[in-house]
Structures are given as C-alpha cells and as structure tokens.
Symmetry: C2
Subunit: 312 residues, 2 copies
C-alpha cells in the first residue's frame, strides 16, 4: 500500500514534515496530496484548493479568525480540524509546577544560603490528600486532572454545566460543581487553580471575600487571564499571610510593571505568561499533526474537528 | 457484626486512632485488641503481648533495629508489618517538584523583578516527550513513574535485576535497564533522577564522565544520598553550563556548609533533606495504617509484611 500524501505549508515546515513522516505518510505538493497541514494565518491561506484535498489541519486552537475570513464557506466539501486541546498540556504542566513549588515552599528554599532544615520542615506541604479546586474545566483543566490525581490530590472541577468531566486518565470519582455553586467551594478546598475564560462574569472571580475563605496554607494559581483575580485583594492576602501564596502566569495589569509588590513578595511566584512558549507550541502542534495524520489514514475520527454549521 | 478492636501506642496517638476508626475498626486496650499499631521504637515495645494480638503494625520502613532487638523472635505467632513504601510518595512528589522547577526555569523566574518574557521563552522546557532515567527503581522510583507518565515523559527505569517495574499506574511499556548497563543510558536520556541506595558500588555513580554525556538542558535530581554524586564534578558542570542544572535534596557533605558554591549557583536547587518532613511522615503512616486495618479486617493480604525467616 502506498503511503498517504500530505502537503505542508506555508513554506518549509521541517518539524511538521517530520511529524507527517513519523505518522507513516509522506509529504507532497498540493496537487498530489489528500490533506494539507497549515501552519499559517487565514490571510496566507490558498484561494483555491485542488479537488484532491479532503482534509485541512489548522494550527489555531480557537478559529474565530478563520470564520471571519470565510475560509470554511469557501471550501464546503473539505473537512477542517483545529489544534484545540493541543496546547493545553504545556499550560497544565506549568500549573502543576507552580502549585508544587508553592506547596513545597520552594521560593524560600531558593533564597536560603545555609542548611535551614528544622526551620523549613513544617513549611514543606504535600498535595497528597489535599483538595484542589480547578475553576474552568476546559482543555487546561482536563489536562491537569490526570497530572494531579497520581499525586493523591482530590479534585473539585468547576465548570458551567456541572456535567462530569470525562477523559481517559480522569478517575470517575472527580467531583464536578456548577459554576453558579462556586461560592460553596472556597471554604472546603486546599488550593485553587484558575483556568476559566475571561468574561464579564469571571472578572475578579477571586476577590477579598473569596480569599478570606481560603486557608493560611492555600495556594492560588492563575494561568487563565489576569482579570479573573483582584490583584489588590491578592496582594493584601499575601502580605497578611492569610493564604499560603500565589503562582501567577498571568497578571493584571499585564505586563506586570517594574516595582509592583508581586515581584518581591516572598510568597508570590510570577512567570511572565510563558507557560506555553513558542518552541513548545510548535512541538505540541507537531504531536497533534502526527496523531491526526494517523487517524486520517486509518479512517478514524479526527481530533478537534471544526463544525462550521455549528460555528466552532 | 462488631467492629474489630485495635490497640494503638505508645501513649496517645490521635492521628493513628483516627485512622483506625476511619478504617471501620475501633480503638481498644491491648487486652481486648486483635492488632497493635505501634508508633515507637523497639526499646519501648512491650515485653509481653496478650494472646489475642494477631498482628502488629510498625512505623519503620526498614526494620534492622527490630531484628537486632530480637522482637520478631520473641513473638513467633504474631504477624508483623512494616511501613515500607509508605514514605516514598512524599519523596517522589518532591522529586517531581525539583525536576519541573528546573525544566521550567523557575529559579531565574524567582530572581526576576521585571517582565522578562522574551528572554525567558527559550528557557522554558517541558517533560512532554522528554526521557527521564530513574536510577534505582525501588519505592521512590516506583512511586515517581506514575507521576511522570501523565506528563508525557518517557521513563528509563534502572534497577539491579533489569526486571520490568510493575505496579498499578505504571504503563507496560516502561523501559527497564539493568544497573550494569547504566553506562549506555547517560547519552540518550534528557534528565536523571538518582533514587538508589548508597553502597560502595553506587558511590560517585554520577561523576565527571557521566555528566559530560548529558545535554546542556539536562537536570540531575538527587533524592537518595549525597555520596552518589561527585559534588566537585557537579559544581564544575553547573558552572560550565554543560548541564541544565541540579536539584538536590541530599548533598555531600551534608549538611552543606555555609559558603558552598551550590548555595549560590543559579542552576542549582538545594533543599535541606526535607522532602519527607516529620508531619508528612505521620500522615503517610496514618494512611498506611488505615489501608492495612481495612485489609486485616477483610482477611486480605497486608501491605509490607515482615518475613523474619527471610530477614526482612
């Protein structure tokens, strides 16, 4: 059986060409190919596609721009897939890193220049048996749960529907709570991960009232958007020590200005929105491409299909 | 059915009494009990046990002292269990924290007082697709593997026998390498975790020759004993930047003296042998007790049985 022909563009895309080859297909020009892997913008996208192209893989996770550009209308016979979900793993890994570093008291360890074992002992915590509330159980939240449960953490997943979060690697007994019942979560969780979209409703979702219900050992991790946390209230709680600390990959304002107290508070960890840097995005997209080329060749359902008639 | 009676000692042991109750049993005096949970030393252990005591749970993971004290000989009819395996999870969690903090460039992030996003981007790595060699696949190694695989890391487990490492949560395809073939591992792994016992053979297992085969992005994590790593060679590699960094919960010498270069090298993370602090040991032992009381009541095999005739 001859290997499936896949076009890759725009221009040279060595990592994607390798992914196609590793998937058991071969790279080819557009005229010969059955599929196109596209690592560019809608503006660069070809005006015409040969009839042989059955499937196009895009590199964006959200495809609003592609709808706006009218690309799906132009090619009604072609199946499109996005990269939705492909980039969540890196942010989830970063979240786990921030949470573990906080719970295990790493910031103060890194400042130490002598063997302060007895002083540090009581501050070294664990996620074993701890409850972690994940507010926003979308791609990042769903990627994070299977990373936390092997550590013995209990999860409260908060989403809009309250429907159980299912995915391979997620235990059946993960508690799911509807977003409108979030008020009851703060006092019974150990830690909070913010991974919900920024909307008018989620602005300052974490404010003084919510922070006051957390524990002196609680860490708040924000990897979503800075606006979900009331920065001034957070700084107050960090200064007063009413929570354990905060790990922030996103801030409000962003970029965080020089001289801001979050840069120097001993229980704040700030990473400058770099949880998903360009080189990891590319690697993650290549992995997504590899998986989808295998699926296409096998006639299996593709990951992240775009359904233009539904608008996503 | 009446609840099983379990004695707990020496003295008051509120966490262990709670664990017994949570397991569905009840606490009782020695004369009434079928089992004894012992959170003390061999020297404190009772000289005589009532005939009703069928099982004794000890709080030590290694029980050499109990053999030396002749306790097992004194009570040949009694089943003893140790706490072997109970304390590995906390050290494994600490290992994951050190490795993630290193790979994601956290030490430099914590020194930053301005938004250095573009500078940091290329330094933020990931365990996804990375190979992690775990040298010593005992309790800590076996606890660590199920924490790493959900992140997309590939594992090379190195143990004495080369027999496949099996345990719930460990994928079937984990590569296992015999310790005498370790020399071939350094050049093909991304990161190294040292979790092997300290013996004459493992002294300076990581030296200049081994470090030279690692990558400029490789992190070396040591949670076993300081003597397994040649400290001077490690400091040279960290200064030269021939490896990414080192995360050390154990050092040689230990305690690490004030003024040692490991305290201030930007790519070294030192935690003062606090990966398993006293309060977490107690919580882990309570969890072990809870599980074993349930098993005993059910007539199921107990965790960590001591086999005096075999000497462990």
């Amino acid at each position: 059986m001859s290997r499936m022909a896949v076009a890759v563009g725009p221009g040279e895309q060595p990592m994607l060409e390798q992914a196609v080859t590793e998937a058991g297909a071969r790279t080819a020009g557009l005229d010969e190919a059955r599929a196109l892997v596209w690592n560019g913008s809608p503006a660069q996208f070809p005006d015409h596609l040969p009839d042989g192209i059955e499937w196009v893989q895009l590199n964006a996770a959200g495809v609003e721009d592609w709808f706006d550009a009218g690309v799906f209308e132009r090619f009604p016979r072609v199946r499109f897939t996005s990269a939705a979900g492909a980039y969540a793993a890196s942010v989830a890994e970063h979240t786990l890193m921030l949470l573990l570093a906080g719970v295990r008291y790493l910031p103060e360890h890194l400042r130490a220049e002598s063997w302060r074992q007895r002083e540090f002992f009581p501050h070294v915590g664990s996620l074993r048996g701890a409850t972690v509330a994940i507010v926003g159980a979308g791609g990042i939240g769903r990627a994070l749960i299977p990373m936390l449960t092997p550590l013995g953490a209990k999860i409260i997943a908060v989403n809009r529907s309250g429907r159980a979060v299912t995915r391979p690697g997620i235990p059946d007994d993960v508690e799911t709570v509807r977003a409108d019942e979030l008020a009851g979560v703060w006092s019974r969780t150990d830690h909070v991960v913010i991974a919900a979209p920024a909307t008018a409703e989620t602005r300052h979702l974490v404010g003084a009232k919510e922070l006051a219900q957390l524990k002196p050992s609680s860490w708040v991790i924000n990897v979503a958007r800075g606006s979900l946390v009331d920065t001034d209230a957070l700084v107050d709680a960090l200064r007063a020590g009413t929570i354990g600390g905060a790990g922030l990959d996103v801030t409000d304002p962003e970029p965080l200005p020089d001289g801001h107290p979050l840069w120097t508070l001993p229980n704040a960890i700030v990473t400058p929105h770099d949880s998903n840097p360009p080189q990891l995005r590319m690697a993650a997209f290549a992995e997504h491409v590899r998986a989808n080329v295998v699926r296409f060749a096998d006639g299996a359902p593709l990951r992240a299909p775009i359904e233009p008639e539904r608008g996503y």
